[in-house]
Amino acid sequence: MYVAVKGGEAAIDNAHRLLADRRRGNRDVADLGLDQIMEQLSLAVDRVMSEGALYDRELAALAIKQARGDLIEAIFLARAYRTTLPRFGYTQPVDTGRMQVERRISACFKDLPGGQLLGPTFDYTHRLLDPALAGGAAPETPEVREPDAAPMMRVSDFLGQEGLLEPAPDPADKPVPDDIARNPMSYPMDRDARLQALARGDEGFLLSMGYSTQRGYARSHPFAGEIRIGEVELEIAVPELDFAAPLGRIQVTECQMVNQFQGSAKAPPQFTCGYGLVFGQAERKSMAMALVDRALRATELGEDLTAPAQDEEFVIAHSDNVQATGFVEHLKLPHYVDFQSELNLVRQMRAEVEARGETHQEAAE
């Protein structure tokens, strides 16, 4: 005799217990500390902070541990926590020109004031697996230069002086930027809202979209004008004080792509800029973001819309991995009712086709 399925509640509890067990793994292996994750998997922490849109290394490390290393799951944990936090206010615009630079390179100029600084990069490592690292060998003490307090001028500032590069948007044009966490997104978007969406967009998705522009789908002739990684000061304006109060420092990666531009009815020929800014050290993401930002400015710059990377609704609506993973994975949820409806329809249509077949046969006989 058939009895409707019950006991879902117990099943869920059991599944959670099993998950906790699998997360811990073999108890003979030492438990992973958050400090270890923060120190030794710091680029994973950076990615969770930037796509989780929450600058907190410790929480990001906790999310990574809780997610068993699944970064999209960890990003989701960070976001779900962030959504409950009150909004106290907005900081002043960050001045990356005053960044305490750890890495700074430009593909446009051989040398420039402040110099090229390689910093901690994978770039020229030979990708040979290192058995010594598996054994836990201690690294040598690195050479570090004296911190230079003087601001390091950005490549965009040099180019801007000659009028060769479009000027950066004037903050006075939009004193209060949009806030995609507080306001519903609606298309077409302003660039400020778009950049926010891109900053927390999925690295893999942006990488592919940016890559597609290099392969001719909305080619924009990009040069890596400058990539810089370092710490910037956050400051907040307090009405009672006549100076901005410092809140602390965060690490960011900034990329300014410089793109050739022929000029249009509205603008003279000059270089245009695609912009990427991401929490932590995330060079690949910031470069991809800059390429996509530039591609999405096609309408503003009067360019033909020919490729997916230029399609704002397509790119922005599909760039958020928390949304994407939720909707793809929701297909696991029961769809009995809809499937039943389709089942009945397919049976009905099959019966109709069969009935027609028989009529044909009768007619033939």
Partner: protein, 260 residues
């Protein structure tokens, strides 16, 4: 007819700029009921910009476009709401694109393509919609057995005829055509022009036809405008312009085609 009836459309000093570049400048004309006006010129002459502006598909930079509504009032197109303009476009007007794929829904059947405008204006009887669609397919010489086929299975000429049926099903009074025979073989062109001429006569349609092909203008239109560099350089009855062109550019244009 032209002496008694007031114009259906009146265009005054229409100008459209693309930044510093001229799309078309200071174009004025009246279009009378039942009249076919051909706009000819080489590519870049501004004829397509003109067509897009007067058909409400593009906002012009300056000038006025007025249209005589069915209640006989002359209405300024730019003063209309988007809703009114769109309603006009799907009921009283038609637009035939050079490439039929731009004017058809390629992923639904021929019947649905013709029926869409009827459904858009509120017809809700499947049988009657289908009957009307079937009737129109016949009038544009598409076989009745093709009603459930998608346009993708049609030849270029059939697609163009389907696009015409899709536009005419709501009984519009004015049809805009952008190089309606462009991209078709010469023999197919001739058949389509025949069909168009018949439909225009039967239905008493007004039309503005943009073409670079003087033969199309000769066959379809009573009046023509010659454009160059965004401006009208000659206008008049079609036969007069073609047989006795006044402007040097028109003379060049006429002499450059083989005399038949």
């Amino acid at each position: 007819m032209q002496d008694n009836d007031p114009p259906l459309m009146r265009v005054v000093n229409l100008t459209h700029m693309y930044g510093d570049r001229i799309g078309c400048r200071d174009v004025s004309f009246d279009l009378y009921p039942g009249e076919v006006l051909a706009v000819v010129g080489e590519s870049g002459s501004g004829k397509t910009t003109l067509l897009n502006c007067v058909s409400g598909r593009q906002q012009c930079s300056a000038g006025t476009i007025s249209y005589r509504m069915r209640d006989r009032r002359l209405q300024d197109l730019n003063a209309m709401s988007e809703a009114e303009r769109r309603f006009l476009m799907r009921t009283d007007w038609g637009f035939v694109h050079q490439n039929p794929a731009d004017g058809l829904r390629m992923n639904v059947s021929a019947g649905a393509n013709v029926g869409e405008r009827l459904m858009a204006v509120g017809q809700r009887h499947y049988g009657r919609i289908r009957e009307t669609a079937d009737d129109w397919l016949g009038r544009v010489e598409i076989g009745h057995d093709r009603i459930d086929d998608r346009p993708g299975t049609f030849s270029g000429g059939m697609r163009q005829r389907l696009q015409i049926a899709r536009n005419l099903v709501t009984g519009p009074r004015l049809v805009f055509m952008d190089e309606p025979t462009g991209g078709l073989d010469v023999s197919v062109q001739a058949r389509l022009l025949d069909l168009l001429r018949g439909l225009v006569d039967d239905l008493g349609l007004s039309a503005i036809v943009v073409t670079h092909d003087l033969a199309v203008a000769r066959l379809l239109s009573q009046r023509m405008m010659v454009m160059k560099d965004g401006q009208v350089i000659e206008t008049g009855l079609t036969d007069r312009v073609l047989d006795d062109p006044q402007a040097p550019y028109t003379q060049l244009l006429v002499s450059s085609i083989l005399q038949v």
